[in-house]
Structures are given as structure tokens and as C-alpha cells.
Amino acid sequence: MKLKLAVGLGSTCSGCDIAILDLAEKVLDLVEAAEIVFWPTAMDFKLKELEGLEDGEIDLGLYHGTVRTSQQEHMAHLLREKSKALMAFGSCACFGGIPGLCNLTSKEEIFRAAYKDTPSTVNPDFITPQTEVRVGDFVLTLPELHQDGKALPLVVDVDYFLPGCPPAVELIEKLFPYLSLMQGGELPPKGTVIASDKTLCDECPLNRENKSISRMVRVHELIPDPKICLLEQGILCMGPATRGGCGASCIKVLMPCRGCMGPPPGVKDQGARMIAAIASILAVSDEKELPEEEVVRLVNGIKDPAGTFYRFTLPVALLNKKMREDK
């Protein structure tokens, strides 16, 4: 029996669509197991057709992208309604993703930058896109932009999670056994996260030796030893606060992890975990002798904590935005 699958979009870069296509030959296996009834990036089904389906007619709905606009929120609710099971696919849907960094600025500032201040923009009347505008005889509408970026679970009830930016092909392949289960009429346990149960450090190919950082450097300031843990060498790596399962792709080209797989199991706030991890190994080999100013200097070597510790997970953090009076 062929399952029905649908892919709905939030504020996406479509890397998640590409990730599905990166199944390569296995895409043919996917379409053997499932009929895709909605997927705007690759197929011509329109919104009306999705709206016309029965509730729960779709066996598995995949939603990728941050929820940023009224239209994307509508799609989240629609896909939830029409799907027996809904999966947050990719880091934007799971945690908010990089577009969630919009929570660090304010609407007014963003507005001004895009439509007035950028040097190539010529807009003396400060015209801005409108949710409804009359152009001659015609009325045109645009979706409304929300204040903040939201992760999918904050908008609708989500059954499964497949993190990654984009999700690794090896993890997407793990969908196949789930589809087989569903074909047999079973649903995998709610809340399942298709990823590793451990942190990235567990699958990292580098060697951990010293467990004490004596300096903090930025990625362009040091050519690291290719065999030793980057964090130990002073290069900030989010590995200890990040769920594994991605195959450590970034580490394999000697670049530090930036946390796209989200927090490890049992951890609510990825940034808090990273702070705890750094604190436990920052200049601890000589902590008794080290003057406080030195510790301050080391901590100041970590630039942009919000954008580094929460790059992919700000919308689901405990403090998930920059509070302004007007927010």
C-alpha cells in the first residue's frame, strides 16, 4: 500500500529539498513507497489541491523552514490538519534555524536596512511592501511578516524531528524503515528524533588529549593541528553541546562545528550547555594560579556568544530574543 507524503514550506532556503534529492538513486525507492501529493519545489500541485484533501489523508507530512509569515503559519496548520504524522524536517523547523537570528534585531531596524539604508537602494518615499495594496484597478496582497521567527513545534503539534542544516543523507535514509512501519499501519513513537543520542564529540575523528583550553582564537587566526580536538586548540567548536548523527562533516574539513543539529538529548538550551562545557575546560589546568583578568581576557576572546551558541536554535532557547520595549 502506497503511503501519501507531502512537503510543506516555511521560510526555507530549500537546502532541505536538495537534501531529499541527495538521496540520489534512493529517491526512486522513496517514490516506490510513497506518493508525493504536495511539494512545490519539485512538483506542480497547488495550494487548493492540498486544502482539498481529507484530514489525516497524508500519512507523513514534512515541513521545513522557519515559521516567519502568516502564509507559512497557515501552511503549518494546514499540513498538521491533513497529516496523520507531522515531521519537523531540518534545523529551521526543529529549532528555528539561522533565520531565527532575526529575533536579535527589531522590525524597525530590519525595515530600515532593507528598504532604505542599503547603499544600492533608491527609495526616497520609503515605500515598503504592504499586506494589501491597490495598484490602479488591482488589489494585491502579501502575507504578513511576523515579529519573530518560530520553530514548528511552537506553532503546531509535531510528531517527529529530523535535524540538520541540511539533514545528512544518512539520516534521511533512516526514514525508510519508518515508512515501512507506517505501511504496516504502525506509527513510530511520538517525539522520535532521527539522529544520534550522543553529542558530536562521540563521532568526531579528532583526538581529545588535554581537556583544558589555554587560549581562544578565531578560525582564521590559527592553522590547527589536523589530529587534535579543535576546542582544545582554542578554536570554538559547538561539538559538546550539539547532537551527533551528521557524520562530523565540518570537522572532516577541519572546520569547527557550529551546532546545526541542535542540543543533545535532555538539554533544553544549547547555549547554556555550551557555556557549561566551556566553563569546565577554560584554562582549568592552571586555574588556581590564573589571575581573574586573564580569565576575563579569555572569555572576551569569544566573540558574538549569541550568534555562536544559538546560531541555529535561538527561537527555542530559554531567552529566545533580544527584548526591546516595543516587542
Binding site: K46, I110, F138, L145, H220
Partner: protein, 485 residues
């Protein structure tokens, strides 16, 4: 007034809709291509360490992340005023050729071919890659899948990941290429050269056997006479990685050539209240509306535009394909929008040949792939030809290396005007006396598909608050009245 809405538009990257307005007689009076998404990279990148930009900006687009990554990395070199070792530049370009291949193969076979192979008016359920495979057979289908897979593999080997690569650094790249990696890349490159030849042949057969496709390409429905912009090397040949920016007019005469960092002297952007996407246009000509012609500052980028502005291709098979294409189209520059699809295949040929050249370069496995920057200038621009057109990343950073300002001019944005015009003309040509069906509407969508748009790229910007405001405009866009609450 009757209104037809196509929502969402499909077989492209990004979110948009098309609104078509018909008069009493059922003819199209106006049509709008509206981009309905936006995110705000230009703003939320402020405050980020500049060396993180090559890892943040690819998230503008998951179909051309390689383009953002390389443009951003080049901007890094400028911000830190550092020149990478020659082998680093070569490896970056090697990666980039694979990226162009991956993106173009995706577009031609997965997004455009359904219209050309399965049929523009075919059953929507079949108008997709699966329908294409059904029509051409599993052997060819598998070849396409493997070609794309190889292009992704090469990017992954060099860049860490194909989607959202991580290897670019100011002063070079993060890791040298190993000999066993180089060997694998060379093997895949050879396959891709053969595959590119096959793709050109495939297209030849398509237009020979399907007269309706050939007619559509050379016909009037999708024709627009605009300016064209693209990057060229010192011999005025197409180059994706580095070069000067050249602009030609409707007759193919060069009207501008500039170094990328001078872009602000040549390009301006305009805002309309009915789309989140801005409209770039040529500063020297000015904005005259969504119209063709010499008096209108509308210009186009992307494959056909690149071939239009160049004097040729830098590699032999691509040069041959280039000559053949323009010969059959009967004009250079070509104004046949559907020929963007064809030009993409010529570029695949070039990218594959260049990929093989670099994969067999004697220097490519050298170990010294990075130098440490010694200081910071603070302002820098990186420019490449993204698969979809010219891409500018312009950063300003303080002396700590923290971003203070960002300006991005992204490929598809520069085709916004072109896409709007193409949608309107196609709608007006195809929909008459109120006769509408899904096939005709799909043919309207084909007008944007040829541009291979990437709307996430285009709308990196964010407008923020939208107080309700009604602006009454006449058909020329002049404001008659403003009402707000």
C-alpha cells in the same frame, strides 16, 4: 474584473504567486509576479564575526549555497586584505565548477525538463522529474541522478558539505586536497564531461523532434529585448569565479565594464509595495517601468545573459556548443527567454571541462592552502557568477572584525523585472477570451522557470513591520492617494 491566482508557483526555489487580471472580454489586462517571502540576512548578520559570514550566508539559499560561500570567502580576503596561495584559489574554483554543475543539472532536468519533455500542458501529476524519467527511460534517468550525485560528492569532498559548505577562510581554505581525493574527483569530472556532451545532444534532439518546443523558444511569447550583465575574464570569456562585470545592450554592444567593487556606480534598486523583492536596474539608464528597450534600465543576468555579454567560452566543447546555439537561435544577443535553459547546458559543458582542467592541474594537491591574515581593512566585496546570475557580497566590519553593515545584490533579484515582464507577456499572449486551463497556466509559469529563479536568495532582506497602508496608484505607478491606519 476576474482574477486568476497561481499559488504557490512550483518547480523553482522559493515562494511566490502570480496574479492575473482579466477584463470583461476575458483578455489579460495585467499580471503580477509577487515574491511572498523574506528573512533579513542583511540585518541580522550585523554583529556577527566577519569570518563566520561564509558559514552564515549560504543559508540564504540551499540550491546555490556554494555561490554564497565563495562570494563570501572572496569578500573575506578583501576585508582582511590577504591574498590566498594560488592552490587555494584553484581548489576554490574546482569546488565552484562542481557547484555550477550541480545547480544547473538540477534545474535543467528536475525543474525545467518536465515542461520540455513531458509537455507543458501534460497532467500535472506527471510534470516532474519522475515524469521525465518515465518519458526518457530509467537508463537516462539514472545517468542524470548519478551526474548530480557526483557534482555533490565533489563539493562535499572539498567543502565538507555540498549544501552549506564550510571550507572557505580569509587567506585560503581549511584543508588541502589529498591525492586519493583528487583521483576520485578526476574520475567524476571525466564522467561529467561526457554527461555534458550528452545533455547538449539531448537538447538538440528535443528541439529537432518537438517542433512546438523549438517554436516556443524562438517565438514571441517569451521574447524580451533587455540589457544583459555577466562576469567575464580578461579575454571576455564567461568566467564564474572571477573577472570584470560587463553589460551589453539589446544589439550586443558593450555599454559598461567595471570591477565588481564599483557596482554601486552602476546598479540601483527600487521597491514596489506588492513584492518583497526589490528591482535592480541600470543606474545610467534609469527606471522606466517594467518594459523592454534601450530607454529602460531593466537588465537580465543568468545563463543566457552571460553568453550574450561574452565573446565566447574558454573551453573547446563549450565554445562549440556556444557557437551552435547562437547560430540556431539566429541572433546574438539572443532575447529568447526559454533559451536560458539551453545556455545552461552550454555552461554545464564549460564547467565540466574546467573541472577536469583543474582536477588534473599539477599544483592542485599542494599542502600550503592557507595564510594567516595579518590585519584588517574592514570593508570588502566578493563577487562571483552564481548559477542564477551575478552575486555581490559587500561587507563592512569594525577593527575587531565584527560586521557593522552588509549589502547583498543577489542574482535572481536582478531578474525580478525580467520575470515580471515575462509573466505578463506570457499571460497576455496565452490567455484570451477567458479561456484558461492548467496547461496554459503552466505555460505562464514557464516564463519564470526559464530564469531558474531562487527567491530565497532574492529576498534575503527583511522589511519588518507592515502597518496597514493603502496606496492608490495609477498604472504608471504614480501615487494618487495614500491612506494609512
Amino acid at each position: 474584473m476576474k482574477k486568476i491566482t497561481i499559488e504557490p508557483i512550483s518547480r523553482l526555489e522559493g515562494e511566490g504567486k502570480i496574479e492575473i487580471f482579466l477584463n470583461e472580454e476575458g483578455d489579460v489586462v495585467e499580471a503580477f509576479f509577487q515574491v511572498v517571502e523574506l528573512r533579513g540576512f542583511e540585518k541580522f548578520c550585523e554583529g556577527r564575526p566577519v569570518e563566520e559570514m561564509p558559514r552564515i550566508t549560504p543559508r540564504i539559499c540551499g540550491v546555490c549555497p556554494g555561490a554564497h560561500h565563495i562570494a563570501s570567502t572572496k569578500a573575506m580576503d578583501a576585508v582582511f586584505d590577504v591574498k590566498p596561495p594560488a592552490v587555494a584559489t584553484k581548489i576554490r574554483e574546482l569546488f565552484y565548477c562542481a557547484h555550477i554543475l550541480s545547480s544547473h543539472i538540477l534545474h535543467f532536468y528536475f525543474l525545467a525538463a518536465p515542461d520540455l519533455v513531458v509537455g507543458s500542458a501534460a497532467d500535472p501529476a506527471k510534470r516532474n522529474i519522475l515524469g521525465v524519467i518515465e518519458a526518457v527511460g530509467l537508463d537516462i534517468g539514472k545517468k542524470v541522478i548519478i551526474a548530480r550525485k557526483y557534482a555533490q560528492e565533489i563539493q562535499k569532498t572539498i567543502g565538507g558539505k555540498a549544501t552549506h559548505p564550510v571550507f572557505g577562510l580569509p587567506g585560503g581554505i581549511s584543508k588541502p586536497l589529498l591525492e586519493e581525493e583528487r583521483k576520485q574527483i578526476e574520475e567524476m569530472a571525466r564522467f561529467l564531461v561526457e554527461f555534458s556532451k550528452f545533455s547538449l545532444e539531448f537538447f538538440d534532439n528535443l528541439i529537432s523532434n518537438k517542433k512546438e518546443i523549438a517554436d516556443l523558444i524562438t517565438g514571441d511569447i517569451y521574447r524580451h529585448e533587455t540589457y544583459y550583465m555577466g562576469m567575464v575574464d580578461k579575454d571576455n570569456k564567461v568566467n564564474f569565479y572571477d573577472g570584470d562585470i560587463r553589460v551589453v545592450n539589446q544589439e550586443g554592444k558593450e555599454v559598461a565594464k567595471f570591477k565588481p567593487k564599483q557596482y554601486l556606480d552602476y546598479i540601483e534598486e527600487r521597491v514596489e509595495p506588492w513584492s518583497y523583492l526589490k528591482f535592480p536596474y541600470l543606474k545610467s539608464v534609469g527606471w522606466r517601468g517594467l518594459v523592454d528597450g534601450k530607454e529602460s534600465g531593466v537588465y537580465r543576468v543568468n545563463s543566457l545573459a552571460r553568453l550574450n555579454v561574452a565573446d565566447g567560452m574558454a573551453t573547446p566543447f563549450a565554445q562549440e556548443a556556444y557557437g551552435k546555439m547562437f547560430h540556431i537561435l539566429g541572433e546574438k544577443p539572443s532575447h529568447a527567454t526559454l533559451a536560458f535553459n539551453w545556455a545552461r547546458l552550454v555552461e554545464i559543458m564549460y564547467a565540466a571541462e574546467r573541472l577536469l582542467e583543474l582536477a588534473t592541474d599539477g599544483e592542485i594537491t599542494s599542502k600550503e592552502v592557507r595564510i594567516i591574515p595579518q590585519g584588517i581593512v574592514g570593508e570588502g566585496l566578493g563577487c562571483v557568477e552564481a548559477p542564477r546570475g551575478t552575486l555581490f557580497h559587500h561587507y563592512w566590519a569594525d577593527k575587531e572584525g565584527i560586521i557593522t553593515k552588509v549589502n547583498l545584490i543577489v542574482a535572481t533579484g536582478q531578474n525580478n523585472a525580467g520575470i515580471c515582464m515575462s509573466i505578463k507577456k506570457a499571460a497576455q499572449s496565452l490567455i484570451k477570451k477567458g479561456e484558461v486551463n492548467q496547461g496554459l497556466l503552466n505555460m505562464v509559469e514557464m516564463a519564470f522557470r526559464a530564469y531558474d529563479p531562487c527567491l530565497a536568495c532574492a529576498t534575503h532582506t527583511l522589511s519588518g513591520q507592515m502597518p496597514l497602508q493603502i496606496i492608490l496608484r495609477d498604472l504608471h505607478g504614480n501615487i494618487i492617494k495614500k491612506l494609512s491606519r
